[in-house]
Amino acid sequence: MHPGELPEPSGPGGFAVRLEDFAGPFEVLLSLIAKHELDITRIALATVTDEFLRYVRALHDVGSARALDEASEFLVVAATLLDLKAARLLPRGEVEDEDDVALLEARDLLFARLLQYKAFKEVAGLLDERMRAESARLPRAVPLEPEAAAVLPELDWRTTPEQLAGIARAVLGARPGTPAEVGVDHLHGAAVTVRDEAETLVGLLEGGVPRSFRALVAGAGSTLAVVVRFLALLEMFRDAVIELSQDAPLGELTVRWTGADIGWTAERLAADGAADGTADAGGAAAGAAAGAVRGEAGTPAGVPA
């Protein structure tokens, strides 16, 4: 890099960089990396970024409207490059290691992502050109002349004022962009609540016979129910109505009921507020393990099926 030299805006291509291994337009740099002709690990991204910032400042100083556009575009590309570089710099070791395979794939994905993003950007340019050329012509789309409109088949009208009002409520009430509540209709799967599952667990354990976790979730029926049953057990453990024991790491987890004499019931979870299975089963499990997920018991939980 040559400090003190301002990178010049180079025509419509814009930002150019000067690095040890490379000097030229940023676009060319990207395509070289994409074609594996330049090792991403040899590029000092910080240098590129510094140069870019000076370039944008220069654009800004001359009052160019392009400054903001270019800045946001650069951010997207730079983030991808950074990902790419991080993946490349991580030690790879033997390929037999599954983690390494995953890493290699991640690197390939990043390459593909970079290339794909560039491809769509280019095609977006084509669409823009095409639509602009097309918008110079306006199609004839005019209301039918009265004579022609007269021959439309007689309107088959079946809507009552109440029905129309219902439609109006639905349309005017559900305004796009500012939903009154987060839509959950895309989440299907039966409602499973911590309280209901706790009740089931109490039923299974009440006799005083210790049972394995495996046995307790055997009849759960879905992954979601298993997760929520696990959350219920955490709640019951917190309230000290069960004891947990495990002889060896990853060994059988045994659960024993101790709450008979304190009169604990699952209703308590409703009153207290208890862990709630959330939309994402994985997230809920992780959250509960960290003791972080708190919510209202009785709230239906759902996961994408």
């Binding site: 439309l152 309107l155 129309l164 349309v171 005017l172 009430g173 796009p176």
Partner: protein, 202 residues
């Protein structure tokens, strides 16, 4: 012919006459010679002359145009009403136009049309842009259908934005079996405050 500030019409294929034709062909409402003259930056008298000439040409009146031979009439004609000029299909072809229009039309309103009608009924006067914003889709075609069906009509233009606004017709009241808009069932308690709706300006 064109004034210095207007578009260079003489340099375009077909000149002023083609420019007037271009406007008439796609304008979705009648246009006056004054508006055309203003857009082209040519005298109104010139526009008037071009319009008369186009009408004679479309009608195949060769003699009026000073042509020696004959001229076939076109399938369209230029009509002038109080509101302005508009191109229509030639009236002699009404039977074939009817055959074309009637085919491919259904007797019932689509769900999209009903939803748009409901918005117009409860939010009139309302522009297409605002209906679009409320429904979250482009409504140009549906609005045209409802106008053709005589259920809604163009009202005044919005003072600020200049956008055409729409309202329901007496035919709509008839179809609904009510005497006035006041008899529409109340939906107010279920709606967000009117101030919130005002976000939807065009």
């Amino acid at each position: 012919m064109s004034a210095g500030t207007g578009p260079d019409l003489d340099g375009l294929p077909g000149g002023v006459q083609a420019a007037v034709e271009a406007i008439l062909m796609v304008a979705d409402e009648p246009v006056s010679e004054y508006r055309i003259a203003a857009a082209l930056v040519v005298p109104v008298a010139t526009v008037q002359r071009v319009l008369d000439r186009l009408r004679a040409e479309y009608d195949g009146r060769a003699a009026d145009l000073g042509y020696a031979g004959t001229l076939e009439p076109r399938g369209f004609e230029l009509r002038s009403t109080g509101a302005g000029w508009r191109i229509y299909s030639r009236s002699e072809f009404a039977p074939v136009v009817s055959a074309f229009v009637a085919e491919g039309q259904t007797a019932r309103l689509s769900q999209a049309a009903l939803e748009t009608l409901a918005v117009v009924a409860y939010r009139q006067p309302v522009s297409r842009g605002r209906i679009s914003a409320i429904r979250g889709v482009n409504v140009d075609g549906v609005v045209r259908t409802l106008v053709q069906r005589g259920l809604i009509r163009e009202l005044e233009r919005d003072g600020e934005s200049g956008a055409l606004r729409y309202g329901t017709t007496t035919l709509f009241l008839e179809k609904m079996g009510i005497g006035s808009l006041e008899e529409l069932p109340d939906i107010a308690p279920h709606l967000p405050g009117i101030d919130q709706l005002d976000h939807y300006e065009d």
